[in-house]
């Protein structure tokens, strides 16, 4: 597909608008929030469907449990809080009351990663994908722009089972066309190429798009694939691409350990080993700062993807 900037919006607004759409179209969808209604962009749902919105206060463990209970009787609960409080704060509750109990709860998590910015490392969870993907039966999704987040929000309501949906705070380019179908577990091919496969998720997809442009100018043909669903991983698309390109760069706003890159490395090691470079945070906590500055400092910029591509091409 031709990649064009269609606008500029935060992914959390995609969640909020997707949730409102579900409110209008699926009477079983209910929403819970732990005192972050504005931050999660859940205000519209709350105003339009007050009887289906549950304000639980600053009590995330209780929110997770109530969501699990609401499924009994047929509700489809969407919980909303920051990614850190959706995962590490409530890991045991998610594990026992939702994942092990196979409850149809959608854990919707904003402000993931470094792009949360000035609030600093206490809130910048970079381990959440790892925690969630380790839970048996948990689906893990990290969309890349407003349109994809909205589409993913709508799609997960029809998936029967627990889902972790991860998105972010800052305004970022919209580049996935509005009518692009969102299929859970099916990677999105953004650009065909032959020299290197770049697999990217979340905010790093746009960085990868920018990197691919520069690399093309240097005569390097990039196959760019958006892995919006980290679990279940689209193993066919990944193996097919790497069979052609023979080398890989992964890019994500997460620790290397536990991230999407780790899942891809595991897949390749078991099937068709290939050189791989990881663009992700390397065993560090974040810090306060402007999102763009943090992404540069921690090596999550398009320039880092370009450098990693040159490195991996030499290892072919």
């Amino acid at each position: 597909m031709e990649i064009k900037i269609l606008g500029n919006k935060d992914t959390r607004s995609g969640f909020g608008d997707g949730l409102t759409y579900l409110g209008e179209n699926n009477p079983n969808v209910v929403a819970l929030c732990a005192d972050l209604t504005g931050s999660l962009k859940m205000g519209d749902f709350k105003n339009k469907f007050p009887e289906r919105f549950f304000q639980v206060g600053i009590a995330e463990a209780n929110m997770v449990g109530i969501a699990a209970g609401l499924t009994i009787g047929g509700k489809i609960p969407f919980t909303g809080t920051f990614a850190n409080f959706s995962t590490s704060r409530v890991y045991d509750q998610v594990r026992q009351s939702i994942a092990y109990s196979n409850k149809n709860v959608k854990l919707c998590a904003s402000h993931a990663g470094l792009t949360l910015g000035e609030d600093g490392a206490t809130h910048q969870v970079l381990e959440d994908i790892g925690m969630m993907k380790m839970l048996p039966g948990m689906t893990v999704i990290n969309p890349c722009d407003y349109n994809q987040t909205k589409a993913a929000t709508i799609a997960i309501a029809d998936h029967n089972g627990p889902v972790y949906l991860r998105f972010g705070r800052p305004k970022v380019p919209i580049f996935i066309p509005e009518n692009t179908p969102f299929e859970i577990g099916k990677a999105l091919l953004l650009q065909e190429g032959t020299d290197v496969s770049i697999f990217a998720t979340g905010h790093l997809v746009w960085e990868a798009v920018e990197a691919a442009k520069v690399l093309a100018e240097n005569g390097i043909s990039v196959e760019l694939i958006n892995i919006h669903t980290i679990k279940p991983l689209d193993t066919n698309s990944i193996l097919k691409s790497v069979a052609k390109t023979k080398c890989v760069v992964t890019a994500e706003e997460h620790q290397i350990a536990g991230g999407m890159g780790e899942s891809i490395a595991q897949l390749l090691a078991s099937n068709s080993p290939a050189p791989i470079e990881f663009i992700a945070v390397n065993d560090k906590f974040g810090e306060s700062g402007k999102p763009a500055d943090l992404m540069k400092k921690y090596g999550l910029h398009s320039s880092n993807i370009i450098e990693a591509t040159h490195r991996v091409l030499k290892r072919k």
Binding site: G57, V64, G65, G69, D92, Q93, R95, S97, S101
Partner: protein, 283 residues
């Protein structure tokens, strides 16, 4: 209550107690103390108090009263009661804690055991789940009641108090929770490990309607549960503090935390069974 009815309930309780000690003995593993102390509660709830449908088991439980066991380690009394009230074959109690069994050490939905609606074991989570189920009933205009049981030691978990606050603040008044107030936990007396202070005052202060009862006297317990039912729908969640004796019904297990999670040996089993009438036939 008719004498005959009380005798019938006590006979059922006696069989449940036999099942508990036999299950735990067979695997040399499990939690007999708390299980024995809660037998009257399970008997009252499943035989008399709740409107429920064992077969076919329906996870949503629409128009049924629902029960959530938050202190999942007393699974033996839960399993014995479910089996004896028709949720699954009584013989399946033979598989308790064995490999490939639906009767896991702690209750779970994962193996599809009828009667279980959420996994419990890691403590403090059941009240929140029950609140969710109660909210679901309200949204569905279902007038049934949601019941929970909690250990007293379990109340040391912070999530319980998050849930307590929520239920009162949001008038979740189709919820009757109960506490197995036996005063013991693994490391000793609750007062020594981490005192609960004035338990009744705490729940009152959190905005709950609170009842107290002897949890091992079926007549008093039944009457308290019926009173609790009349208090539903009045804007407050209801808590019943049940004073119980850990190990109740088996003399050498009573009054000590020692039998929290220890199985009787062959000799002890025989002594225990001699104290418990085989009213319904062993499995």
């Amino acid at each position: 209550m008719h004498k005959e009815k009380i005798n019938q309930l006590n006979a059922f309780s006696s069989q449940i107690r036999r099942d508990i000690v036999r299950m735990v003995h067979a695997q040399n593993s499990g939690h007999p103390g708390g299980s024995l102390g809660c037998v009257e509660f399970f008997t009252a709830l499943y035989i008399e108090v709740m409107t429920h449908q064992p077969k076919p088991f329906n996870m949503d439980g629409n128009n049924e009263d629902l029960f959530f066991l938050s202190n999942g380690h007393i699974s033996p009394v839960f399993y014995a009661t479910l089996a004896r009230t028709g949720y699954f074959p009584i013989e399946e109690l033979n598989t308790f804690r064995m490999i490939d069994s639906r009767l896991q050490g702690h209750p779970t939905t994962h193996e599809g055991l009828p009667g279980v609606r959420v996994a419990s074991g890691s403590l403090g989570q059941g009240l929140s789940v029950a609140i969710g189920a109660a909210l679901s009933k309200k949204a569905n205009n279902d007038k049934s009641i949601v019941y929970t049981l909690h250990g007293d030691g379990e109340l040391q978990e912070g999530q319980i108090w998050e849930a307590a606050m929520y239920a009162a603040s949001n008038k979740v008044d189709n919820l009757i929770s109960t506490i197995d107030y036996n005063g013991r936990q693994i490391d000793g007396d609750v007062d020594d490990v981490l005192s609960l202070g004035n338990l009744k005052s705490k729940w009152l202060a959190f905005g709950w309607d609170v009842l107290e009862t002897n949890g091992n006297n079926i007549e008093e317990l039944m009457s308290t549960l019926e009173t609790a039912k009349t208090k539903t729908g009045k804007g407050k969640p209801i808590m019943i503090i049940m004073e119980t004796e850990m190990g109740f019904g088996v003399d050498f297990m009573m009054g000590s935390h020692k039998w929290h999670g220890v199985a009787p040996n062959d000799e002890q089993l025989e002594v225990a069974l001699n104290q418990l009438e085989e009213s319904l036939g062993d499995y």
